[in-house]
Assembly symmetry: C2
Homo-oligomer: 174 residues x 2
């Protein structure tokens, strides 16, 4: 951040009274520009003993498999955002069941939240950000070719806890 | 947002190819300025049959009681942020147990995440953003004077589910 998005004056990065963190501040219009982590919402769509994954058409991790998801948008709930991202990446219609995992990645200022979802039908196909979309049984999961740790975490927690009767939310670096 | 924070050129709010949402875009340096929901992290600190609440010294909802919390910062986990906010508002040392509730407020682009926590000792006192801090038994909770719906939700889910043996995460507008 170099300039104030409100008045275009150059900003300075400095201490703010009563605040625990340094901020980008505009000394012209007194706007404090806060920067905060972003939320990535996604779904693990379930069909019988299989789950739906998407192979990424874009960097980072192009060609690697992922739990469909993306950045949550203003004006939506987590559930709405998660279902929207699944539709954009896989054209799959899902019914979101509940929160499944949370995963903090402080290094890149992200919080991933994955939901379990019922896949409503098999009319899925790659969206613009995917090169392939397919169902995997547990034995077929390409563990070495999963795009992000949060997806590996969600997949392991799902298959390790199927049928245990718990409706637990699993958190990594909560 | 009026100006590009990268180059100070005026931005325009417009469609972006391959994107489902309009964005603030700088036609001078091609920066797309995404705006996303922010996360509010907090803890419900528990001491025997009581919970710790803080009365707000600042607007919005000055003078109303709240589950201690605030905006998650870059570079921290949810758990770290929740404990930091409790320290800032109440000087209380806590040991975070687990995620308790998630609460989406799309109208103001916020996601609240409250954790259950053990209060380590009784050395609490108001921080700079609080006018009072005290422990409440369930029968003493000032339900009409709670600052935000997310705090009411977390308090009700806590007291309604004590001792049921579940480690469930409760979500509103998930």
């Amino acid at each position: 951040m170099n300039y104030c998005s409100n008045c275009s004056h150059p900003v300075v990065f400095k201490e703010v009274e009563g605040d625990s963190h340094k901020r980008f501040v505009c000394d012209e219009c007194d706007t404090i520009h806060y920067q905060n982590p972003r939320i990535v919402v996604g779904c693990l769509p379930i069909w019988e003993d299989q789950v739906l994954l998407a192979s990424r058409a874009i960097e980072p991790r192009e060609g690697f498999w992922n739990v469909p998801g993306g950045f949550m948008e203003n004006g939506e709930t987590m559930k709405e955002g998660a279902a929207r991202e699944v539709m954009e990446e896989t054209f799959a219609e899902v019914e979101v069941i509940r929160l499944h995992t949370t995963f903090a990645i402080p290094r890149i200022n992200q919080v991933h939240m994955h939901f379990l979802a019922h896949l409503k039908n098999l009319d899925f196909k790659p969206g613009i950000e995917s090169i392939d979309v397919r169902l995997f049984k547990e034995s077929e999961i390409p563990w070495k070719d999963i795009a992000f740790h949060s997806s590996t975490f969600s997949l392991k927690q799902y298959f390790n806890n199927i049928g245990n009767g718990k409706e637990e939310v699993y958190s990594s670096f909560i």
